[in-house]
Symmetry: C2
Subunit: 437 residues, 2 copies
Amino acid sequence: MNIVLLSGGSGKRLWPLSNDIRSKQFIKIFKTEDGSYESMVQRVYRQIKKVDADATVTIATSKTQVSAIHNQLGEEVGISVEPCRRDTFPAIALATAYLTDVKGVDPEESVVVCPVDPYVEDDYFEALKALGEQADKGEANLVLMGIEPTYPSEKYGYIIPENADQTAFVSTFKEKPTQEVAVEYIRQGALWNGGMFAYKLRYLLDKAHELIDFTDYQDLFSKYDTLTKISFDYAVVEKEDKIQVMRFVGQWKDLGTWNTLTEAMEENSVGNAIQNETCENVHIVNELGVPVLAMGLHDVVISASPEGILVSDKEQSSYIKPFVDQIDQQIMFAEKSWGSFRVLDVEEESLTIKVTLNGGHSMNYHSHKNRDEVWVVISGTGKTIVDGMEQKVKAGDVVTMEAGCRHTILAETELKLIEVQLGKEISVHDKQKFPLE
Amino acid sequence: MNIVLLSGGSGKRLWPLSNDIRSKQFIKIFKTEDGSYESMVQRVYRQIKKVDADATVTIATSKTQVSAIHNQLGEEVGISVEPCRRDTFPAIALATAYLTDVKGVDPEESVVVCPVDPYVEDDYFEALKALGEQADKGEANLVLMGIEPTYPSEKYGYIIPENADQTAFVSTFKEKPTQEVAVEYIRQGALWNGGMFAYKLRYLLDKAHELIDFTDYQDLFSKYDTLTKISFDYAVVEKEDKIQVMRFVGQWKDLGTWNTLTEAMEENSVGNAIQNETCENVHIVNELGVPVLAMGLHDVVISASPEGILVSDKEQSSYIKPFVDQIDQQIMFAEKSWGSFRVLDVEEESLTIKVTLNGGHSMNYHSHKNRDEVWVVISGTGKTIVDGMEQKVKAGDVVTMEAGCRHTILAETELKLIEVQLGKEISVHDKQKFPLE
């Protein structure tokens, strides 16, 4: 199976765990059999590989997520990087071109597209596999997955099939209805449209060339920022006549809010947390080293991260976005391709951070105009290069770097250091990169 | 007026703002007229000085609070340091001996004793002054303040006066009653016993010599740890016949729990906090730099400090103690005589802290057996002494200290530094102090 996972925007709905540079799909929140925690994207990837060990998985996403994806899934996974956000049709066109032109997949093969963050069981991926096999048959140009509704939801669009067969041609599509109208749709045999579908690569390449003037993947990539924003539903699905739907009955949850996310948590607390006996339906996700104590709360979610602390009634948590938009918090934690950093202390003319470099990785070779820096290595071994001078370093070693000097550190083992930045104008934008001499 | 303020134990009931080394009376939580915040002890001290500018204020407390008291009240305030905790009778005997033997107060003068943390208005201190003046008259050996009950509380002992006069002899004392019994006491004209009283120093010195074998303050201080724990009520009040009570009508609150403390807060939020419009009766005290967002909560207190995060129903918050007892959190923040420190990062073989030295202050000259240390000065100017070698330092300077070397830093201006401790056995107990050579 070829599968493209659409990995969406930054998502502030799960603040403080998600922020501008850390998306919800990377939060390690699901307990695995061995007691460790995995993220949504790790869970989905593991499930796909279990159902189809040979599956070719491609993640369509923005540049900001590339590091996190490689950190969590390794180097084998394919990534179709969108240079900027242009809605789902350009994203799917780009991923399709990536599969044929970069990965060399035969255009006669089919591909399954689905969001990166459904909370599902293995049977869902069995159904996706069947979706691809149905597309292979060529009876239709597009095969959608239709989910049997469990309640008259106002959150989803509806697909009305021509009949109640497992696989049927689509009669019509319906926009997100009111609850009353949803009841009527369901009476007519309507299914939820969750944005999962399959097609032969050739079909979508042709569609893309119809709508966009481009030659190949590289060309499409280079003019991506000039493309018009348009959704796949609008550009393709709603205009296609030869379209089938396969029904799926089983668990399918969209974990987009704290309310739905906590429903999927196996434990009431992740991290250092205590709930007293009078707490009911309380979920705590604590990424800080210090304890959270909850007493006498009902239907509340508490989440603490280096970015901030949320305490919300579960229902209310779906209205979080405007409040997070008004928080002007500097990024306090980030995963990078080479490891991670966390801000420890902020002063007017200094910033102290902790940097963790993964073994074998290094920072870019770079300099800063307006700040001096001091590194204190606290664990691991590696090598620093400062203005071309190499030096082996281990725990306890101190490196001082004046503004303007070029520097990097290469980790032999996992290496942790405390970096103190000193200057009047400390900014993440004050950074010039250089090739290593 | 001579006044002794009894400053009690560490107090975990206001965790995470109070802990083993930081008592609730030092939390800066009350907004003053100029927009800054003051602590309970600062508020009380300011109120006393307003009512009686010449008042001699002595705080009876343990060694652990001395630094915080001087930081918050300055050097002028007297401190009677209890070498260990021995309940209120030994503490009051020691403070009385301190006043006569150390401060040279005439034993014929009277003194007023009251807890350090009542939440009151100025009229309360006017009443305390009157209490001292009544003791001066010598009609009774002890003059208590009796507070007119506002409800039949089960939390206080009751004083039944002989009549309803402003000042009356005491008929009898009653232990904390049930609510039903309290109603009956109040019908009989009973007053709350809040532990405020006045006596002539001579009276209590005599009582102390009756019960304890000692010569003077120094002698009492040196044998303090051998004294039997006994309360002032049990040792003195309940056995005294010549005892009066003066009634007080006015605000008097004991801010011992989050529930009562938040009632006294003028604002719903202290620190970086957002409440959405569906929050009702929510109080947030946030000492962290990152924001707290509260949504859809009712009757909840949220408090975040470097020690941890509390989210509690206000009623439930009075049951906090056993939960805090089970938290084995290393001290993450402390005020010292020379400034303050905060733990920024904890690793297996390193600990990173931020140290703030007040201008003109210094650390002890000390060494560590099992750890190296690195200082990075981030603001201010001062002087380091490392194994006898002096060096001027300013922001950006780095000092490295191997295990065993003696070191200190003297702040010229306020000086902040990042200290990285490195070693296999990092412990606060690994510290040898030396006199400066």
